[in-house]
């Protein structure tokens, strides 16, 4: 039991984001309304983005902008890799954020079209009406 507690204290960020991911997954599966499913997808994407960003953190390190880099004086000092947090997860997650916005835009457009055609957004009613047509 103390082992589990030290585990959780060391890695509570992973636990938190996994729980957030599972909330998003549950919303995608179990909710009836299409917009709620879309919100669940967005929660899932946000949890994954936060998960990656939290992996890039180093203790006692600052943001990945080289201090004093603008004046040119930093070019003469050595830059240690442990002073700055890892920039790679941030870069990958910029792409992920842009992709999630694009997906959200197109998904909302599709939801508007579905509503215009079937006059409902609930999944079970949609299934009935699609079968009838």
């Amino acid at each position: 039991m103390p082992d589990l507690l030290t585990e959780i204290v060391n890695k509570y960020n992973y636990w938190l984001y996994i729980i957030l991911m599972m909330i998003g997954l549950y919303a995608m599966i179990a909710k009836n309304n299409l917009i709620k499913k879309l919100v669940g997808m967005n929660i899932f994407q946000t949890a994954i983005i936060l998960f990656f960003i939290s992996m890039g953190y180093k203790d006692n390190a600052t943001i990945p902008i080289i201090m004093g880099g603008h004046g040119g004086e930093a070019a003469h000092k050595t830059i240690e890799a442990s002073q700055y947090i890892n920039p790679l997860p941030h870069v990958l997650m910029l792409t992920a954020i842009v992709v999630s916005v694009a997906t959200l835009g197109v998904a909302l457009a599709l939801i508007i079209l579905i509503y215009q055609r079937y006059q409902t957004l609930e999944e079970d009613e949609l299934r009935m009406r699609v079968k009838q047509k």
Partner: protein, 275 residues
């Protein structure tokens, strides 16, 4: 269905939480993610690219090809919104216009005739709301400053947190503020649909155009070092200038697509009444 979903989620969550045993502790500097390539970016990034902001240096220089296709993805999302939703509504009956300074309402019965000076009139339909002085004045004062801040964020992407995506979104948000505080039609008068389409394509063209220019000057695609032949900048900073150029392209594309997505979704494609 909900119980099945709950069971699936609990099983999946349990497996993932069990897998965190193998993960490194949070903030550990010797974690595997900090090896192989990331120390090279941190130690050599400023020297090789000339940009202190390592995130922008990796995004626009080391992984610039990836970012180009990301811009194309944003552009495709804007095109998809237009293709899915845009409908052109025929005018079947006459319309009513209200002269803003005096309050006189005109009723034009012929559906094809239009006004000579549409700037002084506003269209009255069932979504018209009266003139709201505080919101319109405050947003009129704020929008230029928001846009200047957006341009600052784009231009300082090399030195402070920022870059093309962030600045483009802020600029797009200022135009959406215009559409929310006035109405959709007056914002579409300021920046028309044709201009939005041109700007979003222009962003992608700028990005790939810089890449092709580098290729025509003898280097690889998006090899910014070759741009010294056409730009009068010393070779230490030419990569930062190339990065600035592609970030401007990204900013254009993202800004236009944000406004395209908003106007098409908020008006269901008809561009007549907004939120």
């Amino acid at each position: 269905m909900k119980q099945l979903g709950l069971i699936i989620v609990i099983i999946c969550g349990g497996l993932l939480l069990y897998a965190t045993q193998d993960f490194p502790a949070w903030g550990d500097p010797t974690a595997p993610v900090h090896t192989h390539l990331s120390p090279h970016f941190i130690t050599e990034g400023l020297h090789e690219t000339g940009a202190p902001n390592l995130v922008t240096a990796v995004l626009a220089d080391y992984r610039g090809y990836d970012t180009m296709f990301e811009t194309v993805v944003v552009f495709c999302a804007g095109i998809a919104c237009i293709l899915l939703l845009r409908t052109f509504v025929q005018r079947t009956r006459g319309r009513e216009y209200r002269h803003t300074p005096t309050g006189v309402v005109l009723h034009i019965q012929d559906p094809d005739k239009d006004l000579n000076n549409p700037r002084e009139f506003e269209l009255i339909d069932n979504m018209w709301v009266p003139h709201d002085l505080i919101i319109k004045t405050v947003s009129r004062m704020l929008i230029p400053f928001i846009q200047i801040f957006a341009l600052y964020v784009v231009a300082h992407g090399d030195f402070s947190p920022g870059g093309g995506f962030q600045g483009g979104v802020i600029f797009g948000a200022s135009l959406i503020l215009l559409a929310l505080s006035f109405d959709l039609r007056s914002s579409l008068r300021r920046i028309s649909e044709k201009m939005l389409g041109i700007l979003s394509a222009l962003g992608v063209i700028i990005y790939s155009g810089i890449g092709i220019a580098c290729m025509l000057l003898g280097g690889n695609f998006l090899d910014y070092g070759r741009l010294t032949a056409i730009l009068p900048v010393d070779p230490d900073h030419i990569r930062a200038m190339g990065m600035l150029g592609v970030e401007i392209g990204v900013g254009f594309a993202v800004m236009a697509v944000m406004v395209i997505i908003y106007t098409n979704i908020a008006s269901q494609g008809r561009h007549q009444q907004g939120l």
